[in-house]
């Protein structure tokens, strides 16, 4: 093992299915380890031998560019053997079942599975049926834990003490796996979490999770320390509960003009891919408050940390 990473501590969790149910110590260990791997990425070689001999399969049943590349990069930087598998979730519906597909791949001797799937809970099924370590790369609108961890890392780098700080998730909360995982992670760090968007994109009873709700972006801009701008999925919205992108941009799109009322040190995140001119304007996306490309780099570093820390359980996940 490299000197840069001293991984003697172990995670309490054996898999990474979601942030819900995780403890703060685990998140802290992951963030700490992520910073070490970030240093590795800054070296000319960019690579360690930590997962040499470990085989990771990336099963993506939904489209993804960033997350898939980020995981693959993380795995390769750790010297793991990487296998990629992509198919549409709907093909599972017709042909071989997910369990059969996964068991077949596992029979070829793999150690870890990174999966993205359209159905919440698909990873739990995998965990119940396989011996491999399971990492959730997004399950429907349920969780996207590695995104929350990289977001958290990006926030903590700028604002080390989150206690009492208000973090606002803006936009499409109801269809967002990023939102749920972020809420759980931020609360573990003592942040006040607020969601902001049109009422039809805020899911029922979310305030019962201890989350503040506002439909007023101006108010959110004024009271937030951090804003995480979620992507509006252009293809799915316009209809009974969403009048137009024009109206969305006018009332909930983040512009420099609106940001003028924010705290001086407000931090802007976006998990990508961005719809410039819809939820975020150019001058914000490229402006002084954003850490969007930091998030991308942190994504690789934190996924390296997660893969590395979870690999301690290979062979004994159950």
């Amino acid at each position: 093992m490299d000197d840069t990473v001293k991984g003697t501590k172990l995670l309490k969790t054996k898999h990474l299915l979601g942030i819900k149910g995780m403890c703060r110590e685990d998140l802290e260990l992951i963030l700490q380890t992520s910073e070490s791997f970030k240093q590795v990425l800054d070296t000319p070689n960019k690579k360690v031998a930590a997962l040499k001999g470990v085989t990771v399969v990336n099963m993506f049943f939904e489209n993804s560019t960033r997350t898939k590349i980020s995981f693959e990069m993380a795995e390769k930087r750790l010297s793991a053997d990487v296998v990629n598998f992509a198919a549409s979730s709907s093909s599972l519906k017709k042909g071989e079942t997910l369990i059969d597909t996964a068991k077949n791949i596992e029979a070829m001797k793999i150690d870890m599975v990174v999966m993205r799937h359209s159905t919440p809970g698909a990873h739990k099924m995998l965990m119940d049926n396989l011996n491999s370590i399971i990492i959730n790369a997004g399950d429907g609108a349920h969780e996207h834990p590695t995104q929350a961890i990289l977001d958290l890392m990006s926030i903590v780098q700028k604002k080390p003490n989150l206690k009492g700080k208000r973090v606002t998730l803006v936009g499409d909360i109801v269809h967002s796996r990023v939102a749920m995982s972020n809420i759980h992670a931020l609360k573990l760090y003592g942040a006040k979490v607020q969601v902001c968007g049109p009422s039809t994109l805020i899911p029922k009873d979310i305030e019962k999770m201890g989350v503040e709700v506002t439909y007023d972006l101006d108010e959110a801009i004024r009271n937030s320390d951090v804003m995480n701008i979620l992507r509006i999925q252009l293809e799915r919205h316009v209809g009974a509960s969403f009048p137009s992108l024009r109206e969305y941009h006018n009332y909930w799109g983040i512009t420099n003009e609106k940001l003028a009322r924010a705290k001086n040190d407000i931090l802007i995140l976006h998990p990508g891919p961005m719809n410039r001119g819809v939820e975020i304007d150019d001058d914000v996306a490229d402006g002084d408050h954003q850490v969007i490309l930091d998030q991308v780099l942190n994504g690789v570093a934190s996924r390296m940390a997660i893969l590395y820390l979870l690999s301690a359980n290979i062979g004994g996940a159950k």
Partner: protein, 441 residues
């Protein structure tokens, strides 16, 4: 493994022929029709009740059942069952389904029409009728309201009613057109036959669970409470307008219940049923991601369950019916989004009621029994006064307090999708008697 043992060809009826004369000794007779409870013997000869009295002397050759400490009640009636035959026999068939029924004390049931082919004409109806003859369990086939349950053209109701159909139902789909619903109710009014309504507005985006804090946290697509209550409200309006008889199937939300309560107060001919899972479980169970908690209507919130308990007690909810919906494990053992809706019910209806209603003091034993005996029979205009001399002996003998663990591998259904697996239940049916046949646990 269960499927291997219990496949269709090996599926045998679990009943035996009743001895010519049989004496049930010292049981506690609980008659939900007269609402009386008394210690008595019951003598059955040639499958008919000969005598209900104390200290009946056993004649020569008369077999006896010692029912001391046990209850003797009407056979249960489950007015909402999917037997899956014809068309989906890998899930259930007439024999396996009625085996499950008799093991749960169910001596009669109403089978829904969402089969392949759909029961939307006299020929399919009569064919099914001839094939369920001679079983211990009386299978009352309910024809569809509309052709292929498409909600457009109503079936030949007069002919079907004449052939014996006690009701009509498009169960599995809500009738979307108000025009069709009005026509069906008005037409069925001619022969006093109720329409059993699956209340659901399908214009909502198709979801997999209740819309609530749970769906928010799980990120699952959802079915709002109003997808049900909107249709309940509409059909009450239609029933008031045309004067027909409406029975709402599997009500699950407090909004629907309140609407039915008001309609009853007004004197409209409206009744409703609830399933055991809707009086015992909440949508929190979906957090396990087990597809055994995927059903339609979905499990709802604790508030809804509380409203169900209140409505059972005050009589707003007339009947308990299971919506027994078998699916083979290969269909259920997939991602939550892809699994079909539905859970088993026949074998756990009684014990779920004892466990979650009677023992928790939501209902008395008598009140509970009425909802699985007298009330469903009355709703379907069937004979509800079963304990009469000369009538077919249709009864169950049960131990109210017997504790058992629900084990999906031990159920008699061909499928294993129970939502009560591993749950500790109280109340066990020991004998089920009907049509001169007996099932013994």
């Amino acid at each position: 493994m269960k499927r291997m043992i219990n496949n269709i060809s090996l599926c045998e009826p679990l009943y035996k022929t009743l001895p010519k004369k049989i004496l049930i000794k010292n049981g506690m007779v609980i008659d939900p029709f007269s609402e009386r409870e008394y210690e008595s013997d019951i003598l059955i000869s040639n499958g008919k009740i000969e005598k209900i009295a104390k200290n009946i002397k056993a004649e020569m050759g008369c077999e006896a059942i010692d029912a001391k400490g046990l209850y003797v009640s009407h056979g249960f009636f489950d007015m909402h069952v999917h037997l899956r035959e014809p068309g989906y026999e890998q899930a259930e068939n007439f024999v396996s389904g009625t085996n499950a029924a008799m093991a749960g004390g169910v001596t009669a049931l109403a089978a829904m029409a969402n089969t392949t082919p759909c029961v939307d004409n006299k020929f399919v109806y009569n064919d099914i009728k001839s094939r369920v003859k001679g079983l211990l369990v009386d299978v009352h086939q309910i024809p569809a309201v509309t052709i292929k349950r498409e909600g457009k053209v109503i079936v030949e109701m007069t002919e079907l009613a004449e052939a014996g159909a006690p009701a009509f139902s498009d169960d599995g789909s809500g009738i979307q057109s108000s025009e069709t619903m009005k026509g069906a109710l008005e037409y069925a009014k001619m022969f006093g036959t109720p329409i059993l309504v699956h209340p659901e507005d399908h214009s909502f985006v198709e979801g997999v669970m209740n819309e609530s804090l749970s769906s928010t946290e799980l990120g699952m697509s959802y079915i709002p409470a109003i997808a049900e209550s909107i249709n309940v409200a509409r059909d009450i309006e239609i029933a008031r307008y045309v004067g027909g008889t409406v029975h709402f199937q599997h009500v699950s939300v407090k909004e629907s219940i309140e609407l039915v309560r008001k309609a009853k107060k007004e004197g409209l001919k409206v009744t409703c049923e609830v399933t055991p899972h809707h009086f015992s479980l909440t949508d929190d169970m979906v957090r396990t991601f087990s597809t055994d908690y995927k059903m339609n209507p979905p499990l709802r919130t604790q508030e809804d369950v509380d409203a169900v308990h209140k409505a059972l007690k005050d009589g707003t909810i007339d009947a308990i019916a299971t919506d027994h919906a078998p699916h083979p494990s290969e269909k259920k053992n997939v991602e939550f989004d892809f699994a079909p809706f539905g859970v088993l019910g026949l074998e756990t209806m009684f014990s779920a009621g004892i466990t979650y209603l009677v023992r928790k003091k939501k209902l008395s034993l008598m009140e509970f029994l009425k909802k699985i005996t007298v009330n469903p029979r009355k709703i379907l205009n069937l004979e509800a006064d079963l304990f009469q001399k000369g009538k077919t002996a249709e009864l169950v003998i049960f131990d109210k307090d017997k504790k058992w663990k629900v084990d999906r591998r031990k159920l008699n259904s061909l499928s294993i999708n129970t939502c009560f697996h591993d749950d500790t239940h109280f109340g066990k049916v020991l004998y089920t008697i009907n049509n001169g046949k007996v099932y013994k646990a």
